[in-house]
């Protein structure tokens, strides 16, 4: 029988297994777990002192090599204890937000990560939900955790939830070359989910804007219509607002005469929705596109300026100076009375809001 390494021996200590079941801890969350299982809190101090934890700020985790060994041992040799540990962390994750919890639990990742350990379907559903949150940091963290669980064979790397998550991670990193093929796989799924609708939206927009001016955008427009239909069916107003904006941008991109008015109608509907939702940043972007779209229409010059000025005002209010620069540029061109911009010709009009999740809450206007 081969002798265990010191690392292996440490990994079998119950406290180490318990702490390793969580992705990270604060001292308080670790103490809570120790108390729950009637284990020795001082072991945590020893691990800290001996450099067997890694941390930044108030959070830390068991050192990777030791944690990997503890996970292996816990899963294989102490399945009951392992499950109980995850049940505890899942409960803590699902509870009311507390500052003493590690960030991954507060931000919803705990329910995904520990959910997978207990019930794959529950965990994957939570990973799906998190993928909609417009935060690169959160998306990448979800990806890291899901990849760790994929490597352990708990979830299939080709599960649609993970493909969508990977697609959104690349998308938020502006790596469209990687993102679009992944999202296209989701867009082609025959299911009425939000993920499919979001994927259709992003792929439709990409295909539309990539097409040459004047060429047919029938395929992308059809995809956007399907996304719109799904959003309407699910009464998903935030998604509806975004896809209407994109549909308008796509119409304007084709440069076909006769599409300006339908595009403006879509933009006005999108604008109403962003206002209803209290999404001022979305409102600013729609107004910018609307201002540019109106600029090209006879007799609507004042309306165009009004939309652009309001967009500018919101950008300044938010402190979003890149947006302000773009709108000022548009205003200069409109006010100059020549070389008027074509709708969707530049700036964030062509990059309407990504699939931001607006579940719950509204962003407060900054004072």
């Amino acid at each position: 029988m081969s002798q265990l390494s010191a690392t292996q021996e440490i990994s079998r200590v119950p406290e180490v297994i318990l702490l390793s079941a969580a992705d990270s801890h604060t001292d308080q969350s670790a103490l809570l777990a120790m108390k729950e299982f009637n284990l020795r809190a001082s072991s945590m101090t020893i691990l800290h002192e001996m450099g067997l934890t890694e941390g930044s700020g108030v959070e830390w985790r068991v050192a990777p090599e030791l944690r990997a060994a503890a996970i292996d041992f816990g899963m294989e040799q102490r399945p009951s204890f392992w499950k109980s540990a995850h049940e505890h962390y899942f409960r803590v994750s699902a509870g009311e937000v507390r500052p003493e919890r590690p960030a991954y639990m507060n931000w919803g990742l705990g329910s995904a990560y520990h959910g997978v350990e207990l019930d794959k379907a529950v965990g994957l559903a939570n990973y799906r939900s998190i993928a909609h949150v417009e935060s690169l940091a959160l998306t990448l963290s979800s990806l890291r955790l899901s990849e760790e669980q994929t490597a352990r064979g708990l979830i299939d790397k080709d599960d649609p939830a993970l493909i969508f998550l990977r697609g959104m991670a690349h998308y938020r990193m502006d790596d469209l070359g990687q993102a679009i093929p992944l999202l296209r796989r989701i867009a082609n799924l025959d299911e009425p989910s939000k993920e499919v609708a979001v994927a259709k939206h992003l792929v439709g927009r990409f295909d539309c804007l990539r097409s040459n001016k004047g060429s047919s955008t029938k395929g992308p427009q059809s995809m956007l219509r399907e996304s719109h239909k799904s959003a309407a069916k699910r009464s998903d107003k935030p998604h509806l607002a975004q896809v209407k904006h994109t549909m308008a941008v796509c119409m304007l991109h084709t440069s076909q005469t006769g599409l300006a008015n339908p595009a403006i109608r879509q933009l006005q509907q999108s604008l109403s929705l962003t206002r209803e939702l209290g999404d001022v940043w979305g409102e600013a972007m729609v107004l910018h596109t609307l201002g540019q779209a109106l600029t090209g229409l006879k007799g609507r010059h004042e309306e165009a300026i009004e939309a652009l000025k309001r967009s500018l005002e919101i950008g300044e209010d938010l402190g979003y100076m890149d947006h302000v620069d773009k709108v000022q540029d548009s205003l200069r061109r409109v006010s100059g009375g020549h070389d008027q911009p074509r709708a969707g010709s530049r700036g964030d009009a062509l990059t309407p809001p990504r699939t931001r999740s607006r579940r719950g809450g509204r962003r407060k206007r900054r004072q």
């Binding site: 072991s43 002192e49 931000w107 329910s111 417009e134 940091a137 100076m321 931001r356 719950g360």
Partner: protein, 275 residues
Amino acid sequence: MSESPVLNWSPERQRVTSFFRSERSVLHLLGSDRAYVSHFESTLGSLVKDEFGESGKLILLDPAHDFTVASPYAVMCRIFQNLEQDTNTRTESPQHVSVNIGTGNSAGGSVDVSGNRVIVQGHSEREELRSLQRAVASMLDTGSTFSGVVLLFRNCHRLKAKTRRIFFASLWEPTLEAMTLSGMKVIFSYCPHDLREQSADQIPATAHESITMPETFEGASYDDALEQLQMHVEQVGLESPGLGALGFARGVLFNHQSVRDVYHRITLRRLDGLI
């Protein structure tokens, strides 16, 4: 809490202090095993305080922690959260948003975590990042210095090439490099076989200085390590009956030469002692 024992790294600690006193601003900290670097890093906080006094500030950033480094925006938030204690620069208060996860399973509520913040709706992460970067530029324009601020990017070997490129283009070039010219020090730690001298993607492109952690307690470092290990054994009460602290320390160093094995053996002994 007793101090983490740093057994034989006096020369390396002196080199860090010299680095703090020098004009150089970028240090690479290398260890063939992550554990060596980790032990050493645990002492950097006290080195910063020793050198810069109470104004000294060590800001830890880890690609696998607190969502930092993974996102340039998260890194800037982290830096600001630490800086704002010493400056008049104000950052936005955390937004309160709801993150409801899954059906019938509320894993969210308000997101307000120890100063971390994530805004999940109605915002542009890119614009928010630019706002923070403009705030730094403004501080630099008005003559603020970042002397005493030390950024420690840990576990850089875990960053994928794509993330490193994002870091370099979105953070290093536009902001952090300028901060180093105003006194900030940056330490990147990693296992060398992963990224050093690999490509232009490395972080940063050029290190002004590098320190490689020793792997064993051999040669001249032995006596130093023995003395410090003996002190640690006395401090935590691990003396062997009949042998005392010195005997125990000698035994450990006789049986285990690598830094990692020594630390792990002491850990195990201390954990056993709890029973």
